[in-house]
Symmetry: C2
DNA sequence: ATGATGTAATTGAAATGTCAATTAGGAGGA
DNA sequence: TCCTCCTAATTGACATTTCAATTACATCAT
């Protein structure tokens, strides 16, 4: 075939080969996520959700964050975070305090217990990341992965949610 | 071999840079998954779970599968599938029939309604895959993505669940 | 046959996630 | 001020997922 088709293919369905790559991609990332989650669970009694929250708090100045900043930082919906924080608070992993500068606001604070849980969970978790992700790839592949990720993210941010809905 | 340090690094925590790549990777794939899910939802009244089930059934001989084969094929736990099939059956997307060769077994059958829903959902869904994944990458990046996926999967299968638990 | 062991699928309960209100307070203009 | 509109966070109802039994049948060795 001499090229007339390529333009016409845009925005159409993927080819069989593209689709195979897509499926492998999405299935593999899902398998990876789920293996990591189950290891975390069994080694630490933290879920990946707990871990994400604790990680964000550990990295925050004063180990605390406004609830909506936390939500943005880990990419969760506010209501999901709210429910989850309730559960984590019951377990003593975090506290919620009133915000001094905005009376509507809440500040989520990492508790000492939470900090401990996070620290001890992070050792095996980081090891698992190395084992399942880093060690699986050659240095070149790691770079390639990073570039692919960047391209996907950039594209997602530009054409992502907005473009589609308007 | 003159190497002593490289060995020592194995199984240790990732470096800061490796970790950044990991985080971008996992967050981006998650964002991608979630954008796709929300588009599918709004364009078709099927969830990605529904879609996965219907896809597997559409591709199966006779458009039907043993329940556990279906579970394996889409990588779900049996109980999750069971609950989900219950909901899909109530909506008329699938039927469950007794298995002739094994009285314990159930055969999940794609209903005409399910086939229709799947067909009409797949058009916008495939377009979204092209738009958000395929079109985001150069042909070289697509190849790179495929190689990375392959490496991850291979590694996951060899060291994955077993090695860790024994 | 029968009893031990394994597999197919479902169930119920608890944990988690989503969606649509709702509550409460900030911010700016007439 | 007071009214309107916006934002922060939570709540409740409901959908989904996980986990630990449970039910029912198959398989195999005795």
């Amino acid at each position: 075939m001499t090229e007339t088709a390529p333009q016409r293919r845009r925005r159409q369905s993927p080819t069989a080969q593209e689709l195979r790559i897509w499926r492998d991609f999405i299935e593999t990332t899902e398998a990876l996520r789920s293996e990591l989650a189950s290891r975390l669970q069994s080694e630490s009694s933290l879920s990946t959700g707990d871990y994400a929250v604790l990680l964000a708090l550990s990295e925050a100045p004063e180990r605390q964050l406004r609830s909506s900043d936390l939500a943005t930082s880990i990419g969760w919906e506010r209501s999901r975070l709210s429910h989850h924080l309730g559960r984590m608070e019951r377990r003593g992993l975090i506290r919620r305090e009133e915000c001094a500068t905005d009376n509507r606001g809440a500040v989520v604070v990492l508790s000492p217990t939470g900090a401990d849980s996070f620290r001890s969970a992070s050792v095996p978790h980081l090891r698992a990341i190395r084992e399942l992700f880093i060690d699986a790839l050659t240095p070149e592949q790691l770079v390639a992965a990073s570039e692919v990720t960047g391209a996907l993210r950039a594209h997602l941010e530009s054409t992502g949610a907005d473009e589609h809905d308007r």
